[in-house]
């Protein structure tokens, strides 16, 4: 039986400008394409990935402009559309002043105290 893996993403914005995405969100999408049974949990600063309307555009060095800035909210939307469940730690969002109306449609809140039950649903947990 295929393994169920939860990707826990905590380190946020580690190279999003240069990669024009987040490498964990990207590799999750790629492994989903390869048949993986994956879910994603955003915790700590990474809960901010779920905020709608982030705008990282405008970067320029001299005449060299970035044409495709990272669009993390759209990337999460595409991940959800592929069937990847995306969770976020409710308290981590609340501590940052984020409300449900601010977030990408389809991401699911998880209470910090409910994390053991969530983790127990998976065969493996990969922490990034």
């Amino acid at each position: 039986m295929a393994r169920k893996v939860l990707q826990v993403l905590e380190t946020a914005y580690r190279c999003t400008v240069q990669e024009q995405d987040d490498p964990v969100v990207w590799i999750t999408a790629m492994m989903k394409n390869a048949g993986g049974d994956l879910s994603l949990l955003l915790r700590g600063p990474a809960v901010n990935y779920a905020v709608n309307g982030q705008d990282a555009s405008g970067l320029a060095f001299g005449e060299k402009k970035q044409n495709q800035p990272p669009r993390l909210d759209e990337d999460l939307g595409r991940l959800l559309a592929k069937g990847v469940e995306v969770y976020f730690v409710q308290e981590d969002a609340s501590e940052r002043g984020l409300e449900p109306k601010d977030l990408v449609k389809g991401v699911r809140p998880v209470d910090r105290r409910a994390l053991p039950q969530l983790l127990a649903r998976f065969d493996q947990v990969w922490h990034w």
Partner: protein, 136 residues
């Protein structure tokens, strides 16, 4: 002890943190105990087996290149490959191909292969366990 297989995901470039050294320690322990190891190097981790790494002198230490004998990750990987071969286990280092292209580090030591997340997923599904060592 039954032979097991382990996957390591390594993101750190050389010389930036203790994480990659910790990864090598764990890989070494696994190989020495007769287990199979598959490494998927992601992002900066693909520079670990870069063939053009070179030792240098260290004037602060007062040592020339030979005396300093500066550690090179490519040599540690080669040593792990050799140790696995000696013990009849498998040690496979796979670089994320796109990450290699971004960084221009395609020249690797022998027996390092390039691959994709699909191959990581395949290896992870077949392995007994996996350890992700993400960079910050």
């Amino acid at each position: 002890m039954a032979r097991k297989s382990f996957v390591f995901v390594v993101m750190d470039p050389p010389y930036e943190s203790a994480r990659s050294v910790s990864a090598y320690r764990l890989m070494d322990a696994a190989v020495r105990k007769g287990h199979d190891v598959f490494v998927f190097a992601y992002e900066g981790g693909v520079s670990q087996p870069f063939a053009k790494q070179a030792q240098h002198p260290n004037s602060v230490h007062g040592r020339d290149t030979t005396q300093e004998d500066h550690p090179l990750p490519k040599d540690w990987i080669a040593a792990l490959q050799a140790e696995a071969k000696k013990r009849g286990t498998r040690f496979q280092w796979m670089n994320c191909g796109l990450c290699v292209d971004e960084r221009g580090v395609a020249e690797t030591i022998p027996d390092v292969v390039r691959g994709s997340p699909a191959e990581l997923w395949k290896a992870a599904e077949a392995a007994d366990n996996i350890l992700v060592m993400g960079a910050s």
